[in-house]
């Protein structure tokens, strides 16, 4: 059942929140041991929360728009009293003393948290293989990765563990796993959703967003979690979004640009499975009345290089706090300095160490201008090129990822190959713009393909209108 349908039926008393939650726990019990989407399933608490919702309904209370809807939470979002690990040994056993703002908002709306989902350690990766607690597998084919870093959340929705999930997206960590798992994934405009309680990776890029099976469920979830938060100084002082009122307005007359640098021949390593689906999406939009033309965002090809300087630089600073002194496990040594080094050496995995060192190097005297300074200027170039493209177009499209899901272990030995998974998604993070992945059929390999829809800052509504059109045609013409 879709989230919107569950909320309606629970609110009207047609079904109980308990029966909805029980049904999802059953599904988890059946196949979670194969998928490994969760670091922690909070089934007991979920049933208590469901009963509370049911008793509120029995006493005539009006509930929020997500009444009784199960949701899975990426394990880098703080949940009060519930272990939050970022899939890292350095936070194993840590129970935050507070909830992230998005968790408070979800609870207020009546959603029921099912558990904490697996991720690449500290959200650094594109396959969910960099987890200290083992990889998550793609529910469509257990030999393949679910993408990452929010692979656990994407897999949880794809496997039917919950109709909704939250993830975080720093360079594509919501959109790429959504594409590989065949679900909808949204990265909102930077600042649209509060980052309070999201464990920081790269603060100028991180953004929380929803996963869902349908575009309207994703819209509803984003409406619930968006809005200004005084606890996040980068939060945009705007009211929560209203997407539902425009969701079915279609794309008639909409100007849609296909980013030539990120699709078709412009994109090195793009699989034929993916490019043929992009061609198909263009037809769908044209048939629906949109004006579809080729668009150029020339600097987008430098996004990957700039990102892999900027994100590690910010991470090296953000992750300095993990030293075993104030929270988290400690590896005790003779002195405090040695204790910090021992704790960090034992607690961080290889990919996290790589990025901390890369960032430390890029920020160090003598290299700062060449790497970090230059990358920040390239970031401006990308923003300028997007601005130029949006003079001609309302929204832009590209593939979400250059390939469909790949086998476990395929790219773990060569970090650069893994990083290339995010080539299409990174530019939106650097610009701070919203972008989403919509499942649009399957490749020859039988695995899902996602189309990315990009929009200017604050233009989530137009982005969702287009997503809805694509979704309505995604099942047609596919064997």
């Amino acid at each position: 059942m879709e989230a919107t349908e569950i909320a309606e039926k629970v609110s009207s008393g047609e079904v109980s929140a308990r029966s909805v939650v029980e049904h999802h726990i059953e599904t988890i019990n059946k196949i979670e041991s194969d998928v490994n989407a969760f670091n922690l399933v909070t089934a007991e608490q979920a049933l208590i929360d469901a009963d509370e919702i049911d008793s509120k309904i029995a006493s005539g209370e009006t509930l929020g728009p997500l009444a009784g809807v199960p949701i899975s939470i990426k394990d880098n979002l703080c949940t009060r009293g519930v272990e939050t690990t970022c899939s890292s040994k350095i936070l194993e056993g840590w129970k935050p003393p507070y909830n992230a703002t998005v968790i408070e908002k979800l609870k207020e709306a009546g959603a029921v948290v099912m558990g904490k989902t697996n991720l690449d350690e500290f959200a650094m990766g594109s396959s969910t293989e960099n987890s200290a607690f083992g990889p998550t597998r793609n529910p469509h084919n257990l030999e393949l990765v679910p993408g990452g870093s929010s692979g656990g959340s994407a897999a949880a929705v794809a496997a039917g563990f919950s109709p909704l999930a939250l993830g975080s997206d720093t360079g594509g960590s919501i959109r790429q796993p959504a594409a590989l798992c065949g679900v909808v994934g949204v990265k909102p405009t930077y600042g649209r959703v509060s980052r309070y309680g999201l464990v920081a990776f790269a603060s100028s890029l991180d953004q929380v967003g929803p996963f869902a099976n349908t575009v309207s469920d994703a819209a509803l979830t984003l409406e619930v979690i968006s809005g200004h938060d005084p606890r996040d100084s980068t939060s945009i002082p705007e009211k929560p979004l209203n997407i539902s009122e425009v969701l079915n307005q279609g794309v008639d007359g909409m100007r849609i640009g296909v980013i030539e640098e990120l699709s078709g021949k412009g994109l090195e390593g793009i699989s034929p499975d993916v490019s043929s689906r992009v061609e198909e999406a263009i037809k769908v939009f044209s048939n629906a009345g949109a004006i579809v033309e080729s668009a150029s965002v020339p600097a987008s090809i430098y996004g990957l290089s700039a990102y892999y300087v900027i994100a590690p630089a910010e991470a090296s600073s953000n992750l300095a706090r993990y030293d075993g002194i104030r929270f988290g496990p400690r590896t005790e040594a003779a002195t405090t300095a040695e204790t910090m080094t021992a704790t960090r050496t034992k607690g961080f995995g290889d990919e996290v160490k790589r990025r901390i060192m890369l960032g430390t190097y890029a920020l160090s005297a003598g290299y700062y201008d060449a790497y970090y300074g230059k990358s920040q200027r390239v970031r401006t170039l990308i923003m300028n090129d997007f601005a130029k493209a949006y003079e001609k177009f309302d929204i832009l499209i590209s593939p979400t990822a250059p390939t469909t899901a790949f086998p476990l272990g395929d790219k773990t030995a060569d970090p650069m190959q893994m990083y290339l998974q995010d080539v299409c998604t990174i530019p939106s993070n650097l610009a701070g713009h919203p972008a989403m992945s919509v499942p649009f059929g399957f490749g020859e390999d039988g695995m899902p393909v996602g189309i990315q829809i990009l929009a200017p800052a604050m233009a989530e509504r137009e982005m969702f209108q287009a997503a809805k059109v694509l979704e309505s045609e995604s099942g047609k013409g596919i064997e």
């Binding site: 892999y308 988290g328 960090r344 970031r379």
Partner: protein, 99 residues
């Protein structure tokens, strides 16, 4: 071709980041970091001298809250998740190298 980052530089950066690396790790990380920096080298050809750097996607400036006391965490709550505590304080090993 000269590697973009030397083994010595990686060892130095690891020390700055308070990470201890084995000899094997040092070799592996050096070649992996060099590969990433090689990729970043495509930025070198770009002339961006006239472009302002962006630190952030939005021009929000000086975001201040009202100067009113709010609720914080209880000391006990914070110490509950600390690795070692003594007399309501974080307990740490010697800081000056003498035990």
């Amino acid at each position: 071709m000269v590697q973009r980052i030397s083994r010595e530089e990686v060892a130095h950066v690891a020390r700055l980041a308070q990470l201890a690396l084995s000899e094997d790790e040092l070799d592996a990380f050096t070649s992996q970091l060099a590969a990433v920096l090689d990729h970043a080298a495509d930025l070198e050809a770009l002339n961006v001298d006239d472009v302002e750097p962006s630190t952030h996607p939005f021009p929000l400036k000086n975001v201040l809250r009202g100067d009113e006391p709010g609720e914080g965490f209880e000391v006990e709550e914070v110490l509950e998740v600390a690795p070692k505590v003594e007399e309501r304080q974080f307990r740490v090993p010697p800081i000056l190298g003498e035990s």
